[in-house]
């Protein structure tokens, strides 16, 4: 029994370290405290709301978020804007609908069920407007990058002057954390580019943290309920395991073998 647990834990550790070493490059990303990590991790509501503001006012001019709907912004576990606020947010966007009875496409104010309006009609249009580089959709961006939130958070603050000797083409920028250090996106955030309604100071660091938190939620909208359910499930399993363990001991006490 003891040997079994010992061996099993060795296997688990080897297993996890092997898996983690799979994410090939080891880069020291900037660190910050993410409220959503850990067994009890939850989103910081204020940060989500500010992050949404940064996304809308800055990122969304190039980056779509096509799997997220306006209604999600009011749902539990998300930014949790009030119903009225979400309706107002949705209505502030023009959505192409149709065809109507005359066979025409028309514009109307957004509804809760609409997906977030995309900045470009399609991928080609996005590329054409951005010097050939497609600004990736942000719905699952955090999960689609090896370093996850730390990578996005660092990237946003990783703009620097290129080291001497490195020649950058026009429209290409140097970023410490980008794969290959060359990025087509110019530094998106600068001090005070947005004005937070709650009085938080809009430093680049603060905005990076807020928008990354928002992106984490966009990629994992059920993260909070996952953590809550996980805790309950694991506690339940542990209690049941203990009960079954003693039942087993009782049953096996009839035969003279150690379990």
């Amino acid at each position: 029994m003891k040997n079994f647990i010992k061996l099993l834990s060795i296997i688990t550790i080897v297993f996890i370290t092997t898996v983690q070493s799979n994410s090939a490059e080891k880069i020291d990303y900037l660190k910050t405290d993410w409220s959503f990590k850990g067994l009890f991790g939850k989103f910081d509501r204020g940060s989500l709301q500010r992050g949404y503001q940064v996304y809308t006012e800055v990122c969304s001019s190039c980056h779509s978020m096509k799997y997220v709907s306006y209604r999600n912004l009011g749902e539990k576990g998300g930014p949790e804007f009030s119903d009225a606020a979400v309706k107002a947010i949705a209505a502030s966007f023009e959505v192409k609908d149709g065809p109507n009875a005359d066979g025409e496409m028309f514009m109307r104010p957004g509804k809760l069920s609409d997906k977030l309006v995309m900045p470009y009609e399609n991928e080609k249009a996005a590329q054409a407007a951005n010097g050939g580089a497609y600004p990736p959709d942000m719905s699952v961006l955090v999960k689609a990058r090896g370093g996850g939130v730390d990578y996005i958070y660092s990237l946003l603050q990783g703009y620097e002057d290129a080291p001497s000797g490195m020649i950058l083409d026009e429209g290409v920028h140097y970023n410490k954390y980008m794969y290959g250090n060359k990025i087509k996106m110019s530094a998106p955030l600068s001090e005070g580019i947005v004005e937070y309604g709650d009085g938080t100071e809009a430093t680049v660091e603060q905005m990076s943290k807020d928008v990354t938190t928002f992106l984490m939620w966009a990629a994992e909208p059920h993260l909070e309920s996952r953590h809550q359910m996980g805790l309950k499930a694991i506690i339940y399993l542990i209690i049941l395991t203990i009960l079954v363990y003693f039942s087993m001991k009782k049953i096996w006490s009839r035969v003279e073998t150690e379990v």
């Binding site: 080897v14 996890i16 898996v19 090939a24 999600n72 059920h222 079954v244 363990y245 049953i251 096996w252």
Partner: protein, 420 residues
Amino acid sequence: MSDNEYIPKSKFGKWFNDRLPLLSLASHLTDYPTPKNLNYWWTFGGILTFCLITQIVTGITLAMHYIAHADMAFESVEHIMRDVNYGWLIRYIHANGASMFFLAVYIHIFRSLFYGSYKSPREIIWIIGIMIYLLMMAAAFMGYVLPWGQMSFWGATVITNLFSAIPLVGEGIVNWLWGGYSVDNPTLTRFFTLHYLIPFLILGLVVLHIWALHVPGNNNPIGIDIKKPSKDTVPFHPYIVIKDAFALLMFMIVFAFFVFYAPNILGHADNYIEANPMVTPAHIVPEWYLLPFYAILRSVPDKLLGVIAMLSAILILAALPWLDTSKIRSAVFRPLYKQFYWILVADVLILGYMGAMPAEGLYLLIGRVATAYYFLHFLVILPVLGFKEKTIPVPLSITEPILGGSSNLALAKNKESLDK
């Protein structure tokens, strides 16, 4: 099956059982005499059954919401993750369930290797097991293609391209597999149907695997033939059932940890990028459970020979009952084999690590040495060891060493012969 004649108590039960002996089967399964010294490594059979059922149930549920179309697959997975009630839970159980399934199957296989469970009279159980393992790999590979992310697409491209190594007809076979001239919608739809089919084939083989097991009965840690039923056995229910349940629950705690707290750690980030035939990922890496074989494939410079080496690495296992010439089953009584066994475990882990690294420089070299050793173990070391090894005397029954109060098994055996 078992020698006991079961007679149902009720009249209806007897009537039914005479026509379809389901009650006899149930009785056989509950009474099934099991060696009482089975350790926890033997609980993985039950755990694997749990894994298979979990995959089938979650998989069927996912199939109700998934759309097998190149333009819609990725989006439908996001739909499951966001809008389907508890869709995220079902998908994460299914995705991590595949990893848990392989973790359990590797422990199950290596348990068999340690205790010689593949040896006579259990060769058929072992060969069916290898067939299940092959089908599992096929099912897992095709399942990984379904979300239609970048790794799905490029993994499918790399693996199907292996068939092009076959001389003359290779290209034709690849096009036939793809249903076109590249991995595209026809590939996705056929992978989906096969991914749905294979688990039921596995289920059928699992029934045969257990049936074949119930003929000779379980092997056990000291690897001796035992009389059944006897002092050495306990009925399957409740003894083994409760022990399996306990082990399963511990396994489920690990499983739950992955599902709820690290659901994406075993996957690759690139698979959250929608498949794009125009962009190749920097490193195309298979899922962790296929890495050792991927390392073997890449360690051979020639494509065709590489494919042959990879396939042989798996198929060689089917010949294991005849490659291992030792009559003694359990490694407990084979001091030399025990050492080689652990070297093999290390070798496979090294291969897995090399499979995850880029195939260049030192990684490639170590991968080649490890590949060579893998085959050396099965083709040279095992056959020779059976003749050369000095084994420790094996006790005559399970109860002997325990009742004798002595852990010295050789002593127990001497005592037995004195008693006679």
